[in-house]
């Protein structure tokens, strides 16, 4: 267990030089710890997330993976009594530095939630929401972004005839893809996904997974998942967390086939968790 000292920095290993060049590190976590009141939820976490790849966070319930995800767009601040130490840098900028505008940060770092949460508005207004916030009023511009976002989320063909019907009338899988479309309408750089398919049936899940693979050409995607097959299918890198600690971080291929730590092996082979 001595080798598991949390201060050990597990550098993301680069399988080839191409990866490092085409996918430089975009998010850097340095000795990040987080407390809910007196309870420590994240312990001294350090690693880097690479650009335009899919990085999966896995681990048993309560391991801190969702908490960590919410550190990346400062959604944790909405909870009372949260305290944080260490740094999170995105493109070199410490996002917890005093001068950082959290509104701008959240435009750059979009988020999709576990339970699809479309606004009780029309499909169109769901996508247009963020643009309207920014003061965009020109119909042509809104129309364009709505179509582009829906197409990018592989939803356009299914909803193009009901753009002005309530979003709540869509199926669960469609609603979740609508939420993805809504998130990319602001053209973020990073997409955070908190178990986006956990409430969906296998077919809807497959659609979301295809979509994620599609989106990683343009976006850096960080996804929390309970489903190890899903992590194996769609992610390039995987981070395994246990009780608030980062146990192992590696390419998905290596982490699933040849993990360095016993705990990781036990978890990915289904022996616990």
């Amino acid at each position: 267990m001595a080798s598991l000292s949390p201060t050990v920095r597990l550098q993301p290993p680069a399988p080839t030089d191409v990866v490092t060049v085409a996918h430089p590190e975009l998010i850097t976590l340095d000795r990040l710890s987080l407390w809910y009141g007196a309870a420590q939820a994240l312990k001294d976490i350090s690693f880097g997330i690479r650009e335009r790849l899919v990085t999966a966070f896995i681990g048993p319930s309560g391991c801190g993976k969702s908490t960590l995800l919410r550190c990346l767009n400062r959604m944790n601040e909405l909870i009372e009594g949260v305290r944080l130490s260490g740094t999170v840098r995105i493109a070199g900028q410490d996002i917890y530095a005093p001068g950082v505008d959290v509104i701008e940060l959240r435009r750059r770092v979009g988020m999709v939630f576990q339970r699809s949460n479309p606004f009780p508005k029309s499909v169109y207004e769901n996508i247009a929401y963020a643009l309207r916030l920014q003061g965009v009023r020109r119909r042509r511009e809104l129309d364009e972004v709505v179509e582009k976002s829906l197409r990018a989320a592989a939803l356009w063909d299914e909803v193009k005839d009901r753009l002005h019907a309530s979003a709540l009338g869509l199926s669960g899988g469609q609603q979740q893809r609508l939420c993805i479309a809504r998130a990319i309408a602001v053209q973020p750089d990073i997409l955070l996904m908190d178990e986006p398919a956990s409430a969906l049936d296998p077919i809807a899940t497959a659609k979301i997974e295809d979509l994620i693979l599609d989106l990683k050409r343009d976006y850096t995607i960080v996804i929390v998942t309970h489903n190890m097959q899903q992590a194996a299918r769609i992610s390039d890198y995987t981070a395994f967390f246990y009780l608030g600690e980062l146990i192992e971080y590696d390419t998905t291929a290596r982490l699933f086939t040849n993990p360095a730590r016993k705990q990781t092996e036990d978890y990915v082979t289904g022996r616990f968790g």
Binding site: E80, R107, G110, F113, N117, F119, Y129, L133, A165, S166
Partner: protein, 320 residues
């Protein structure tokens, strides 16, 4: 030997369990409900029976005669106007203030701080204050303090008070203070019923807290807020004590023309008819007629609010 499982199970499933206690309690609660229905029916039937005779367009809309106790001449038009005016004005005051307070309490204030808890218990205590105390407060605060200061500021040296006397606006404000807890509590409940996920979705898109409240939370909470308004209207329409010293008039020859005028009022008129009539038996039909009109007016105001709420709900369901 035990009987075969299927036979045993069939026997058990078809055994009737008699529960005398449960039967008795069901009967008791049902009886209590019936009792309430019977009382309500009795009250309404009694009022309708005695009051229906005096109802006529002339009685409801006609102008009040100086001799208010003569069934041949009596009419309650100005009272209908006064009651409607004070209730509608009250709504204009109480909804914005109550909704703002509820937004502050649920969206901005930290739930566990002593300040928030103090504020909440203040709201609850406000709900328990007797209405006559609100009347006295209205006289002391709105009429004397606020009205008096306005007079001193706007008309210095003028001995005749303009604002510093009982008036429609002060009665409405007093009623608004009285019904604040109703609106605050109803709005808070409506706001809390909105899923956290919707707020998070908005914030994660780069909305400010205020944008989230205005664009996502409030539209969803509107039906609940209107319910609060309906409750406030029902509570206020029949109140006499809060307006007693703050604006109501025993008799006025004409309708109030400005917010600083006094007004006649249905609920207060019921009180007048039942305590000041020289011949109680002779004026009894007017008394009951006035009560019927008061009930009808309250009902009409409620129907309007309920219709608005139904429309809002329909719109929310269709689009948003």
């Amino acid at each position: 030997m035990n009987p075969a499982p299927t036979a045993r199970l069939r026997g058990e499933l078809t055994t009737r369990h008699r529960e005398p206690v449960s039967f008795f309690c069901t009967g008791l609660t049902g009886l209590a409900t019936l009792l309430i229905l019977a009382m309500l029916g009795l009250i309404l039937a009694n009022i309708a029976w005695h009051g229906a005779g005096s109802l006529s367009p002339r009685f409801i809309f006609g102008s009040a005669d100086r001799d208010m106790f003569d069934p041949a001449k009596a009419a309650v038009g100005p009272m209908v106007f006064g009651t409607a005016a004070r209730v509608i004005l009250m709504t204009l005051f109480v909804i914005p203030i109550g909704v703002s307070t509820a937004i502050y309490l649920t969206e901005y204030a930290r739930g566990t701080s002593w300040w928030t808890r103090g504020l909440r218990s203040a709201v609850n205590n406000l709900a328990g204050v007797p209405s006559i105390v609100f009347g006295l407060f209205g006289l002391g605060f709105f009429v004397s303090a606020v009205g008096g200061s306005l007079d001193a500021l706007i008309y210095p040296g003028n001995p005749k008070p303009v604002w510093g006397k009982p008036a429609l606006i002060w009665a409405s404000l007093t009623l608004a203070v009285m019904t604040l807890p109703v609106v605050i509590v109803a709005t808070e409940e409506a706001l809390r019923a909105i899923p956290v996920g919707l707020r998070e979705a908005s914030l994660a898109l780069g909305a400010t807290k205020w944008q989230t409240v205005v664009r996502v939370v409030l539209p969803q909470a509107l039906p609940g807020i209107l319910t609060g308004g309906i409750l406030a209207v029902s509570r206020a329409a029949g109140e006499v004590a809060p307006i007693l010293f703050t604006g109501v008039a025993y008799y006025m020859a004409s309708l109030p023309r400005s917010l600083t005028d006094q007004f006649m009022d249905l609920a207060y008129h019921v009180f007048v008819l039942s305590t000041q009539a020289p011949d109680v038996d002779k004026s009894r039909p007017i008394l009951y007629g006035t009560v019927v009109v008061l009930l009808l007016l309250t009902f009409a105001l409620n129907v309007v609010a309920i219709l608005i709420r139904a429309r809002v709900r329909r719109r929310l369901r269709q689009l948003g």
